[in-house]
Amino acid sequence: MIQAKRHITLNESLGADIYRLSIQAPEIAAAAQAGQFIMVKTGMGFDPLLRRPFSIHQAEGDEIQILFKRLGKGTTLLSKLEAGQQLDILGPLGNAFTLQEGPCCLIGGGMGVAPLLFLAQTMRSRGTTPHILLGARNKAELMAFLPAFQALDGSLRYATDDGSMGQRGFIIEALPALLAEDDKAKWQVYSCGPYPMMRAVAAICQHGWPCQVSMETMMACGISACLGCTITARNTNRKGGKYLHVCQDGPVFTADQIEWKS
């Protein structure tokens, strides 16, 4: 894990307020595993104060890449940065997806697709071809990240909430059918996306399919120093606590570790 100011090599607007930003960070690129994240200082002053967490979208050669959506103060500042400027980053942080045997399905929605590209690439490099299901609000959002997934070979399906591209509706609707295609196999499901989507994925998978989800919470430090990034565990853990810390115990959890809120 390092903390350093590193050069930005690319900051590209992909439409729908989504950006792809690459950073020269050989140590992080070398160490990074799919599912891990970095914490980024988005501005020079104290407002916003805290670093912002972003999943590693790709790690290749000397560079890592994040995919982010402009939402509030921090991401607005990030969106204005240009190649050649420096960015203060901390990472790689958190655990990673655990690669398991068997056919696998990656299901992501919105910015949750960010870590899934890295995961899919890792799987491909190990000879596995994942089935990928992607959801977006509309065509503009989908087109911001779809091409990167299309560059991988393998099966790819997508949906948009408004039907402007691909299937209309939520992409999770495609999951039961996919799992049923080969219902004797031990499907591995990997998911990252909005909370309700992951909860629905978890509900489907509880009928026998191992499922890993990547969770989000507010984070102050990313390095397990503040204890702020908790989510509630389904079971009391071996330490006697009932909370999980997303930056340390996660961000990737098995779906059954989590107490899903309705």
Binding site: Q3, L50, L227, C229, T232, Y243
Partner: protein, 310 residues
């Protein structure tokens, strides 16, 4: 120029001498190890660890933190591993560091505090105890100690009797007369006071129309609170004869110097560790540079230097 001309050593009471005045604040530096690859632990003035209670505490339900303008609110609820696990799992690593270790303690009753202090007194490798009498997140017991001089004094003297370690009492800013609280700690036998802990604050989610934090209120920390902290340090330094340790929003060496000139013998860096994990190093070298540029060799001559006529 030779850095070694600057003597940053400082006495923070009860015979505890630090190599330099820059410490980490409780609850913002984990148990130290979390920062080992990010900063040089050995060169810290001291590490103050996350508040320890007699038994492990799970802490508050989420959400526990929220960012505010130049600050953050936390309602961690004093999650910690408890005394036993601290001694078994955390202390060995910390003992191996070259810098002093200060253990922050909290309890729900005077009895609990006494047990904690007595328990730690048995252990090797602990340089001082910091008594947190001011946690705004614990709903019973604790809060009262932090806002009533009489209770603070009683608590301090009970702990004082249970340990021979240097004793630092950490004060709450949620009071109208911080001087009275500092004097109460001094009267109870504290070797130093440290301040401030967090201000009580809250945030509301206007979409969900409910408080952001599950605990409703939380502790405000970070640069936003620095002016209040500095004023209280100034007042506390006026009120007592024991060393004062400044805490609250310190993020740069200039911030640290303000507290020192106001009367702090040493300082603790809290929230800044989250967004700038190497900040403690930068603060230390900034103080050294300030001394060099102003031809000051002895750090202690700077303590309270802004008080002039006061």
């Amino acid at each position: 120029m030779n850095d070694n001309n600057q003597d940053l050593r400082v006495d923070i009471g009860g015979g505890l001498k630090l190599n330099n005045p820059v410490m980490t604040a409780s609850g913002t530096f984990g148990y130290g190890r979390e920062f080992e690859s990010l900063t040089d632990l050995d060169s810290l003035g001291a590490i103050v660890v996350k508040g320890i209670s007699l038994r492990p505490r799970p802490g508050n339900p989420p959400p526990r933190i929220v960012e505010t303008a130049c600050g953050m609110l936390n309602a961690i609820g004093l999650e910690n591993v408890g005394l036993e696990a601290f001694i078994k799992d955390k202390l060995p690593y910390l003992k191996g560091r070259k810098c002093p270790l200060i253990v922050n303690i909290l309890g729900d009753s005077i009895e609990e505090y006494r047990h904690l202090a007595a328990g730690l007194d048995q252990e090797e490798g602990i340089s001082a105890i910091e008594l947190n009498i001011s946690c705004p997140n614990v709903k019973k017991g604790g809060v009262a100690f932090g806002s009533q001089p009489d209770l603070a004094r009683e608590l301090t003297s009970t702990v004082r009797q249970a340990t021979s370690l240097p004793l630092i009492v950490k004060l709450s800013p949620n009071v109208s007369d911080i001087g009275a609280m500092a004097r109460a700690a001094e009267a109870g036998g504290a070797n130093a006071v440290s301040l401030i802990n967090t201000l009580i604050g809250m945030a509301i989610d206007i979409r969900l129309r409910k408080p952001v934090l599950a605990n409703i209120t939380g502790g405000l920390s970070g640069p936003a609170i620095k002016p209040v902290a500095l004023r209280m340090v100034w007042q506390a330094a006026e009120a007592v004869h024991i060393p004062v340790i400044g805490i609250g929003g310190i993020s740069t060496w200039q911030d640290a110097m303000e507290f020192i000139l106001a009367g702090a013998s040493a300082i603790q860096v809290g929230t800044a560790n989250f967004f700038n994990p190497a900040g403690v190093d930068e603060i230390q070298s900034g103080i050294r540079r300030y001394m060099r540029e102003n031809n000051i060799n002895q750090f202690h001559t700077l303590i309270g230097a802004a008080r002039g006529g006061k």
